[in-house]
């Protein structure tokens, strides 16, 4: 059996009595783009900093090609990193910045010059080698930082929210660049972000961090379609939650009842379901249907009162309140017949496929 490329095993980090991350287990394939996604303080950056060697783990191990990295100091790990803030060396030109890791490695002058030119081509900044960092825009600086981090062909590239200081338009532009560079160089990338859209756009797989642990690891579609926890469900894609009661649960499916409404059968259930216990039913706005009257037997759903209707260009967003008072959002394509003539205060029936919903216990 071949050794996995990069393994993070049972990683734990405590600061005094405060636990930052615990029980982090991730296996990354060579060439994979893996994103650590989570809100601030969820432990994603701490995990990245342990990989970089700036923090020592309290417990656990990191194996690169089967060999532990933990006792190797940062400067000998041969890992590339792009930081959240601009970290170009201010007194050096762009070319000298990219050459820095090569000079440290005692490369010859000709080899350094050739590599600097190749890296400038890779990030599309040919002709900029004599500029000083202060003369470049934020986006350009991050591209130079990327070129510098890749100049020595590191097996792994770490990126710590590299685009968070940029505006939205520039961010999308550089996301494209990062994807292209990932495909061209085939470098393994571990990317930290709190932006789910960025994670979905860039990554092969996403590890969702919450409160210092990984809730779930999977591809974007997997996380979207099959969230393992309520947190993942709320963090990836839009979702609303409705309180419900578990009538009975078996084999990962549950029958529920919502308020005084009818039973809903066969919803995928997560967590420990107790018959008669309360749980949260997760519904995605784009998976819901809306009609004026109950479409009758065989359709699962609940009635609600329309609170607000928002036109969003290609879609129409209807906010409605369930009998319990909880708000449900329904997204309808523009021109959908159900939206015609709909006004605030109307009573509507919101239907969904039980198999596409999820119920989270505990």
């Amino acid at each position: 059996m071949t050794e996995p490329f990069l393994q993070i095993r049972g990683l734990r980090k405590d600061y005094g009595i405060v636990n930052a991350v615990s029980d982090v287990n991730i296996t990354v394939e060579r060439g994979e783009f893996m994103t650590f996604l989570g809100p601030s303080g969820s432990g994603k950056s701490t995990t990245l900093y342990i990989l970089a060697g700036f923090e020592n783990p309290t417990a656990g191990d990191i194996l690169l090609n089967g060999e532990s990295l933990i006792s190797t100091p940062s400067h000998k790990r041969n890992i590339g990193m792009v930081f959240q803030r601009y970290t170009l060396f201010p007194h050096l030109s762009v070319g000298e910045n990219i050459a820095f890791p090569l000079k440290v490695r005692r490369w010859g002058k000709a080899a350094i010059d050739a590599k600097v030119q190749a890296m400038l081509r890779l990030v599309r900044l040919e002709g900029f080698e004599d500029r000083k960092p202060a003369q470049m825009s934020g986006g350009q600086q991050q591209r130079v930082a990327l070129a510098r981090a890749l100049a020595y062909d590191p097996p792994v590239l770490l990126m710590d929210e590299p685009l968070s200081a940029l505006d939205k338009k520039l961010r999308e532009e550089i996301q494209h660049e990062i994807r292209r560079i990932h495909q061209e160089t085939e470098v393994t990338i571990l990317y930290v972000t709190h932006d789910q859209e960025e994670a979905l756009r860039l990554s092969d797989r996403i590890a969702v961090f919450s409160k210092g642990v990984i809730d779930q690891i999977g591809t974007g579609p997997e996380l979207y379609a099959n969230p393992a926890t309520r947190f993942v469900a709320s963090f990836i894609g839009d979702s609303d939650f409705v309180t419900c009661e578990i009538v009975s649960a078996r084999d990962g499916r549950a029958d529920l009842s919502i308020g005084s409404g009818g039973a809903i059968a066969g919803v995928p259930v997560h967590g420990t379901a107790v018959d008669g216990g309360m749980a949260a039913l997760m519904l995605r706005p784009e998976r819901l249907s809306l009609s004026r009257i109950s479409t009758g037997a065989g359709t699962t759903g609940l009635s609600a009162r329309v609170n607000d209707i928002t036109f969003l260009g290609s879609s129409i967003h209807v906010a409605a309140s369930a009998p319990s008072g909880e708000t449900l959002s329904v997204r309808l394509p523009f021109g959908h017949e159900a939206a015609a003539g709909l006004s605030r205060g109307d009573t509507v029936f919101i239907g969904f496929d039980p198999a596409s919903a999820h119920v989270f216990c505990g």
């Binding site: 400067h75 890992i79 990193m81 803030r85 060396f89 007194h91 890791p101 020595y152």
Partner: protein, 266 residues
């Protein structure tokens, strides 16, 4: 802006006059001394009856004056080097270190700035008497180092706090040993702080007189001490010449510092 100078009306002129008077109050004594140093009157008559360079010639012809100037320069140079080196290490500790009592330690490092110099001078004098450092270059250097270090630490901690440590981390991940990263990346990035530290350390020692009077011996005197002792014995315009030279070196260094700061910014 809360106060717009252009819109102050009559206040504008009042402010200008106050500023002018303050500047004159600060600068006139220096101008006065400089004028006297070129005056022909042996009794320092103002305005001078005629102009001459003879007091400068006398200064340059007197080995005691030259030796005092050289002593001042030597001590200031050694103080500068030590102050920058010690200040740099201390600043890294104060800015980057994580330990209890860090803020207290920082305040302690700055106390020589507020402490009356004469108190410090008496204490050092008494202590150096016991260990035989009075009248030695080492004694001078230590005494001046005590008052120079706060300036050095102040300007370097400021520079270091304004420097994003991620930049140094980036250099380390690029493969540079942490020490190499500090030397090749952090130090050039905070060079303006190092430079200010050096200039202020030099000047602190160069024109310091209180500690110097306590540390001096008849054979080891700095220029300010020599001016002071000469002044007590007889009133010669050579003192004015020496004072003017002292001021010229100071102004030259300040100008250099301003130029370098401007150059670093652009």
């Amino acid at each position: 802006m809360l106060l717009n100078f252009e819109r102050l009306g009559a206040w504008k002129w009042i402010l200008l006059v106050i500023t002018g008077l303050t500047a004159a109050f600060l600068i006139l004594p220096i101008v006065f001394i400089a004028a006297l140093s070129f005056g022909s009157s042996q009794w320092l008559i103002f305005p001078p009856p005629s102009w001459t360079l003879q007091w400068y010639k006398a200064f340059l012809a007197d080995p005691r004056w030259l030796e005092a100037a050289w002593t001042s320069f030597r001590i200031a140079a050694v103080v500068t080097v030590l102050s920058v080196l010690i200040g740099l290490v201390a600043s890294f500790g104060l800015v980057r270190g994580r330990f209890i009592g860090k803020e207290a330690l920082r305040a302690l490092f700055l106390t020589p700035m507020i402490l009356p110099v004469v108190v410090l001078a008496v204490a050092l004098y008494a202590f150096f008497l016991r260990i035989g450092l009075n009248g030695t270059t080492t004694g001078f250097v230590i005494a001046h180092l005590v008052v120079a270090l706060p300036f050095s630490i102040l300007s370097m901690t400021n520079a270091l706090e304004g420097f994003d440590k991620s930049i140094e981390d980036a250099a380390v991940l690029c493969g540079a040993h942490p020490l190499e990263a500090k030397i090749r990346v952090t130090l050039p990035a905070i060079s303006h702080g190092l430079f200010s530290a050096a200039v202020f350390s030099f000047l602190t020692s160069w024109d310091e007189v209180v500690l110097a009077i306590f540390m001096a011996s008849p054979t080891l005197q700095t220029l300010p001490v020599k001016i002071w002792t000469t002044l007590r014995q007889d009133l010669t315009p050579v003192i004015a010449a020496a004072s003017t030279l002292l001021v010229i070196v100071t102004i030259a260094l300040m100008l250099l510092a301003a130029l370098v700061r401007k150059g670093l910014k652009s």
